[in-house]
Amino acid sequence: MTETLLSVQNLNAWFGMHQALKNIQIEFSPQTVTALIGPSGCGKSTFVRCLNRLHEEVPGAYATGKVILQGKNIYESSVDPVLIRRKVGMVFQKPNPFPSLSVFDNVVAGLKLAGIRRKSILMEVAERSLKQAALWEEVKNKLQQPGTSLSGGQQQRLCIARALAVEPPILLMDEPTSALDPISTAKIEELLAELKKTMTVIMVTHNMQQAARISDKTAFFLLGELVEFGQTSTLFTVPKEKKTEQYITGKFG
């Protein structure tokens, strides 16, 4: 039986009166990349934001159900959402380095917030994270320059390095390459293959070919429901559900 790292049970999410997710059940295994696909407004971004309790930060938004990470429900009242976000890192569509911080300080921002101040540790983590994000060689001589001075693709990898610095077992990515050129996109896709050796990646993408290239499993969302979840190679060649077939062949959406 496949080991489960993250189990989502009966997850429902609302924005006020509008229900954005309906009774989602899904499990994620360690060291896998899962792609989430579906038309705009289908709930896939809301879904990933429920996995690190970012969804509830939107005024009027709330979620019910269970998200069990390493055996513990992250929605229990005793759980601190900030601690969850250290375990479940996130990279967004547009690169968002802290504008006032240097490359180095961007990477170690999470560690400093956690109270780690020793320079040697911060330096070690920064180098390791930037190497993991395949950015070290490009920025090792400009660590004190502003993060925002980097190119778009470099800024996105800087954000990935920042997320990796706190060593989360899970990394969420919400369309991380949609604003990048093909070369920067290819670098991030190569990076995913490396990252999954040590962590679980859950990535929202509108690019069907990207989902097919980089993921082990794919989940198709439609109108707030999880329509199909399975091996990527099967879902893109012989989907089980007619709606999946229609979506991935461009017959709607």
């Binding site: 069907m208 070919q209 893109f236 060649t237 012989v238 989907p239 991935i248 062949t249 017959k251």
Partner: protein, 227 residues
């Protein structure tokens, strides 16, 4: 709403259907060549082969273009993959038809073989298999495709019977070895055309359902013949 890929897929299907039409004509003429002792039919088969070969190249180019420009998925991807394989099968079947017409060239140099009834029956079934396999592709009919798979057994049995009977006859009348040898070669080429028709039927089932039935069919059949 028509997707941009639909235009390419429809054109591809039309190209393959035209190529299949050439093939049916080639198999019919190759059969008539030995059956009616017609040299004119031999010439026609050779002329058709050129058209099939050109269509083979054109269909492959069209598939390559669609794969590169449309990046198809699911049914679209399975359809194009099947067309690539069916294209190859049709080209090989046309080659077998040419082989039969070449066998007919030698066969017509001698008096007719004493009993062609099984070979005639075999050629009729094979032509039906080819027609049904192509129809299954055109109509996307998995039931008809399955019928092709089921009917291929009879072709194999008839081929074995022709081999056995010709061998027995040649032991008694070795002076008819040229006729007998060409009857065996024609039977073998017909059987191979039947095999390619089953390949097409299997690809049709894959296109429609995503189910790969290739080896399950052979296992079920349990035929001692080599493929």
């Amino acid at each position: 709403m028509q997707r941009s890929i639909d235009i390419g897929l429809n054109e591809l299907k039309a190209q393959l259907v035209q190529m299949a039409g050439y093939l049916e004509e080639a198999v019919k003429n190759a059969t008539l060549a030995w059956r009616n002792r017609s040299r004119e039919m031999i010439e026609r088969v050779n002329a058709i082969e050129d058209k099939v070969n050109q269509a083979h190249l054109d269909v492959d180019a069209a598939c390559l273009k669609l794969l590169a420009t449309q990046q198809p998925l699911a049914t679209d991807l399975r359809f194009i993959l099947s067309v690539v394989k069916i294209n190859s099968d049709i080209e090989r079947m046309a080659d077998q038809a040419v082989n039969i017409s070449n066998n007919a060239v030698y066969y017509l140099q001698h008096p007719p073989y004493q009993d062609l009834s099984d070979l005639i029956r075999m050629s009729e079934i094979v032509r039906e298999l080819v027609k049904n396999a192509i129809d299954a592709f055109i109509k996307e009919d998995a039931v008809l495709a399955q019928n092709v798979l089921d009917a291929d057994d009879e072709v194999d049995q008839l081929k074995n019977k022709v081999f056995k009977d010709v061998l027995a006859h040649l032991k008694q009348t070795p002076q008819e070895v040229e006729q007998g040898l060409n009857v065996i070669l024609i039977a073998r080429n017909l059987e191979r055309i039947g095999d390619h028709a089953t390949n097409i039927a299997e690809d049709v089932i894959f296109t429609i359902s995503g189910q790969d039935v290739r080896h399950s069919h052979f296992r079920k059949k349990g035929s001692p013949d080599e493929k």
